[in-house]
């Protein structure tokens, strides 16, 4: 008999429905010839929300291609092969290669032909992202714009207010320029009210997701990371929409109820792990494999904060869900107000984007904070050869964990390209890690 009670998540089907709705909406826009905007989904996606449009985000699309390929990898491998045939090397971001390949095959993983966008809009969040959509735009023959992104330093570095102000203005002014540019290249009028709503909803949705993650400090964990993959993606895909806010409000209520009643994600939880970087989407069974030992991944900085929403409490040296404008008592009235707030939100509270740029003490502090507050027994780090951004500082962090007696395991792989992943070897590493943590498989006890 399991140690804890478990229940299916009532929101589960809703999450699947919302996710599918985004991809169906893109297909519909393609078929009806209405506006599609494409780019990295960690771009400022509230910006194009000033138009009636569907947004095709490259990273979740790549993850979906890979995940759907678990049953039949030929469906997405053809995208890699097409990108390679066009001379794009295998050491490039694997999401980017899937995007290129999907376009080159004129194939949309959710059915039909590739949905060519009206324009591409990107935020230069890592060294790859800006070039990704520049090349995509050249291939597609559509206009391209990119917001340069200069995140605030981690709080431990005590960045000056003057420097932060300069960054805020720099990003805000680029956003204002991009709005003018989008109007010009689309020939459509930008609706400030829609944009302001989108900024409010994006901040609210990501705040609510952060609050959901806080609930997961419970023992047993109310969510495991496998579940999170299906839940955080709503913020990734459509955080600028009210439907996302409504979904997370419902999810938060449900999670709080589960925590109060001691409902577990995994009934035999006895060891709590923290993951780092994206998961290997093609081999999510490693998370199921952990359960054979009674181990649960309670999340990752990536899963907690991919779409932002975490503020820093200087006094207690910890992070908490950042207040969205309406909770902070701020009414965004104008395009300028919204751009200023939005720029600050991304720079200050989007701590995953920050971790793509700055290695060192700040991310170590954030990870250590999660270890302490989420009652983590060990850390599993995916040395992800498919994403240079999330790889920033990983070995430095591994060293930090050793110095602080936090057990950690590294395994090499690629979040989207399974050719760079060795499942038996990874399982063997997990076996060793579990043995050093003093647990065996239930079946061997």
């Amino acid at each position: 008999m399991a140690k804890y009670k478990t229940e299916s998540l009532r929101c589960w089907d809703k999450a699947k429905e919302l996710r599918q709705g985004v991809y169906d909406g893109i297909a519909k826009a393609r078929d009806e010839g209405t506006m599609i905007v494409a780019g990295g989904t960690e771009s400022a996606i509230a910006l194009p929300a000033g138009f009636d449009m569907e947004f095709l985000g490259g990273e979740p699309y790549g993850a979906s291609c890979t995940f759907m390929g678990i049953k039949d990898s030929s469906k997405y491998m053809k995208y890699f092969e097409a990108a390679e045939a066009a001379k794009f090397p295998r050491d490039l971001c694997s999401y980017m290669r899937l995007g290129f390949g999907s376009f080159l095959c004129n194939s949309y993983a959710f059915g039909g032909t590739y949905p060519k966008p009206t324009f591409n809009l990107q935020t230069h969040i890592c060294d790859t992202h800006g070039k990704w959509y520049q090349i995509m735009s050249e291939l597609e023959g559509v206009p391209y714009n990119c917001v340069d992104y200069v995140p605030f330093e981690w709080e431990i570095e005590n960045e000056s207010e003057e420097s932060k102000d300069l960054k805020r203005d720099y990003v805000k002014n680029q956003m204002l320029d991009v709005i003018d540019w989008m109007e010009k290249v689309s020939g459509k009028e930008f609706d400030d009210e829609k944009f302001i709503n989108a900024v409010n909803w994006e901040c609210e949705a990501t705040n609510l997701w952060a609050r959901c993650c806080v609930v997961n400090r419970s023992i047993p964990a109310v969510m495991d990371e496998k579940m999170m993959f299906s839940l955080y993606v709503i913020a990734v895909l459509m955080r600028q929409r009210k439907a996302a806010v409504d979904f997370y409000r419902e999810l938060l209520d449900e999670l709080e109820d589960r925590a109060a009643r001691g409902i577990a994600a995994f009934g035999d939880e006895r060891l709590r792990l923290l993951h780092d970087s994206q998961p290997p989407w093609h081999s999510l069974e490693i998370f199921r494999y952990l359960e054979e030992f009674g181990a649960v991944s309670i999340g990752a900085n990536y899963s907690f904060a991919l779409s932002g929403g975490w503020a820093y409490d200087k006094e207690n040296e910890t992070w908490f869900p950042a207040d969205p404008p309406r909770v902070a008592g701020v009414e965004l009235k104008t395009r300028e107000d919204a751009c200023a707030w939005y720029a600050n939100w991304l720079l200050e509270y989007h701590i995953v984007l920050r971790s793509l740029r700055f290695s060192g003490r700040g991310k170590n502090q954030r990870m250590h904070d999660i270890v302490k507050k989420w009652h983590v027994d060990g850390v599993m780090m995916h040395l992800n050869r498919g994403c240079e951004g999330t790889a920033v500082g990983q070995m430095e962090m591994r060293y930090y964990f050793s110095e602080n007696n936090i057990p950690s395991l590294t395994y090499e792989g690629n979040h989207a390209d399974k050719r760079e992943f060795d499942l038996p070897r990874t399982k063997a590493k997990i076996d060793t890690f579990m043995e050093t943590l003093g647990v065996r498989k239930f079946s061997e006890e």
Binding site: L383, Y399, S402, N405, Y411, E412, R425, K429, T432, E435
Partner: protein, 256 residues
């Protein structure tokens, strides 16, 4: 209690039989693509040395990447924990174990009780593994023993890529074409492997004493390179370096 440990590695199968904690028999055989025959040969040697029949063994614990291929054991464990158990008996004051297997290099940090505190293994790259040294010895057309001796004759340091065995190999080819002396090439290869192992060892916050085990530990060239690479006054190379995994597995079997 009489128990046994079997370590089915990428290249060799090792069997150790212990009685009340002491080794009474050991055997080793080279495995090709098929490890079962080699396991039989290793068992035969070990049982012969112990003067026992197979049914005298009360419990067998296996370790090693290919153990499932061979079967015939009661329990299994990781190489890392097996190494630590055996080291606690062989060199109890060791705090860092560097194990260079054919396919995998490992650095293991242990406490005074022999408990594993941290470990690191090489990722998919073969640059920290013994198979690379063997390949280079073959390329130099010398035995492994001679490869080590030649390295000690060198007076030059030639840095080659320590991050990737493929790049390292192509650099060795360039050195051969440049008519670099064989001792200098042998030393360069050992230095490259040692650099990789040193990086792995630092990842677990290396502490003395450091003990080197695994098949490649027999190479005096690698011993010298690692000692320099880690700036060590002493590098312990215990007896039976190839048998630590099997010995630890046997000790684990006798504990249960």
């Amino acid at each position: 209690m009489i128990s046994a440990g079997m370590d089915v590695g990428a290249k060799t199968v090792k069997v150790v039989i212990v009685k009340d904690g002491a080794i009474i028999g050991k055997g080793i055989a080279t495995a090709g693509l098929e490890a079962t025959g080699a396991a039989g040969a290793a068992w035969e040697q070990a049982l012969g040395e112990a003067g026992l029949a197979r049914d005298a063994i009360e419990k067998v614990t296996a370790t090693g990447a290919r153990r499932e291929e061979v079967g015939g054991y009661d329990d299994a464990m990781s190489e890392v924990v097996a190494d630590a158990l055996a080291m606690h008996v062989a060199v109890p004051e060791a705090r860092t174990i560097v194990d260079v297997g054919a396919e995998e290099g490992r650095a293991i940090k242990v406490n005074a009780d022999g408990k594993v505190l941290d470990f690191a293994v090489n990722e998919k790259c073969a640059a920290g593994a013994g198979a690379f040294i063997e390949a280079m010895a073959r390329a130099m057309q010398v035995s492994m023993a001679e490869f080590g001796k030649l390295a000690l004759e060198s007076t030059r340091t030639i840095p080659i890529n320590a991050q990737c065995a493929i790049f390292a190999e192509s650099e060795v080819v360039s050195l051969v074409h440049d008519e670099t002396s064989r001792p200098d090439i042998c030393k360069a290869v050992n230095d490259a492997i040692a650099d990789r192992l040193a990086a792995m060892s630092r990842r677990v916050l290396l502490q003395p004493k450091v003990a080197l085990i695994g098949g490649a530990a027999l190479g005096i060239g690698l011993q010298d390179s690692l000692k320099r690479g880690l700036d060590l006054e002493e590098l312990v190379v215990p007896e039976n370096v190839q048998f630590f995994g099997a010995h630890g597995a046997a000790l684990s079997a006798s504990e249960q």
